[in-house]
Symmetry: C3
Subunit: 202 residues, 3 copies
């Protein structure tokens, strides 16, 4: 039914949806507002990517898994609202899986139409990061990823790893795992050791 890759994609979508719905709850939005923030976070990056490269209808219009998984994320955000501190680690894990898989999907889509590696990595980073940017804009905040933590940087470095291994013509599977691994490890270390980019303020 679903490949391993697709399952990771949906886990990432779920984590993003939950983070969007929770952001909506925090901002005291109603059920519809929470749902829109969940959708924007979960599918916003991929939607912008697909519109820019001309892959229309965009992915979630023809693959309904995104739609249903996002609704499940909203339901989970409501039901477990008070317990999300307990779930914090699962959420962080899913989110980290999410940015890794989303980056890979963006790179692959760019390559399919023969775009330059630099642009493909940019598309991967947009896929991974712009859902969160839209979420924060809709919630009327300066996007969090502009202000602290290594987030997009992990995606960009992962993209570099992708092309490094691609250059040596390694197997796709190996490239995928190494790219995703690079992103996840950098992301995890940056949170653990509070790494940040130059000019970052709290």
């Amino acid at each position: 039914m679903f490949s391993f890759f697709e399952i990771l994609d949906l886990l990432g979508t779920l984590a993003f949806a939950i983070s969007g719905a929770l952001a909506g709850r925090e901002r005291r939005l109603d059920l519809f507002g929470m749902t829109i923030l969940a959708f924007a976070t979960a599918i916003g990056g991929g939607t912008i990517r697909d519109m820019m490269i001309g892959f229309t209808p965009v992915m979630w219009l023809t693959n309904l898994s995104y739609f249903y998984v996002t609704l499940i994320g909203v339901a989970m955000a409501i039901v477990f609202y008070k317990k999300f501190n307990v779930l914090r680690y699962s959420l962080f894990l899913f989110d980290t899986i999410g940015i890794a898989v989303f980056t890979l999907i963006g790179i692959e889509k760019g390559m399919r139409i023969g775009l330059h590696p630099v642009i493909c990595v940019t598309l991967g980073t947009i896929t991974a990061c712009f859902g969160g940017v839209i979420r924060d804009i809709l919630a009327n905040k300066i996007p969090i990823i502009f202000r602290k933590e290594i987030y997009a940087t992990a995606c960009i470095l992962g993209g570099g790893m992708y092309y490094f291994l691609h250059y040596f013509q390694l197997q796709k599977d190996v490239i995928y795992i190494a790219t995703a691994g690079t992103i996840m490890i950098i992301r995890a270390l940056s949170v653990k050791y509070k790494w940040s980019l130059p000019f970052a303020h709290d």
Copy 2:
């Protein structure tokens, strides 16, 4: 010249344009700012829809009625600025016609390329609601429809009515009227009785 349906579409566009221009006036924007807010509100939802499904150039680039009606809306907002309390009921009526017709247009466009009913209703809701969302983002506010009142919900329920009647193979005209009626009645009742969604705050 124009069909009945097209006239309703333009009335909705007019109402949306006026609401956008008034929002700009309230935020003390200049004439250009008011005009952009009017355009964003009137054609923003349809523009996002058309970009996502790949109907390009998007609708208002090839059908100039939207352009001129929006400018008329800006002129009306300026001329009648002090009297819009008197016009409040007409505005509310037009706006309600607008979301009903916009929802129908979104559903129909999605069906034309064979998208799933759930997605078509989503496209209808985006057409009806995202103009207002963009207006509020440009005016640096959390979108009003995320916080109170039944608005998008009316569009979604109207979409449900559409497919319910579609399933029984009723005539297009009957389906259109019943769908638009559902949306308008739910919207009107929700304002009258101050219905709101769970988690809504003032």
Copy 3:
């Protein structure tokens, strides 16, 4: 290598990128945030234009000059941060060149697919102005061009000049120079004499 027109386009892109990066620095964003604001400002208007008319992949995905020039803009914003008061006039000059060239590009792209003059001028204005609008939204401010100064208006009047001369079938080169000149002169005069649109507040 590059034509004169392309060089002006890239100078405009550079000015827009610098203005975006500086806005990010002012809002205390980190390096990534500054970079995204630079990209949004420099290529945001063209990206929206291309997505709306269906010219995909959008321009900067296939022409890497935009990408590299934007990165140069970010580097300049960082290195010369303290000295930008000295550079203020160069920046204003580049920015003014930018909106003039961007307006021309937008008009030309619209004409290539046979859109109405009114729409082509709108596309030109979007190309020139929406980068700045996105920059301000991402920085959580009401877009500056909605509030003061003649900016979009200069683009619109330049567009009028374009079609006025086009009507008399003048040479392309003459039309280009006259259009760009109109935009740059109106923009410069409006800043010098503090012209503003009706309803503008400080």
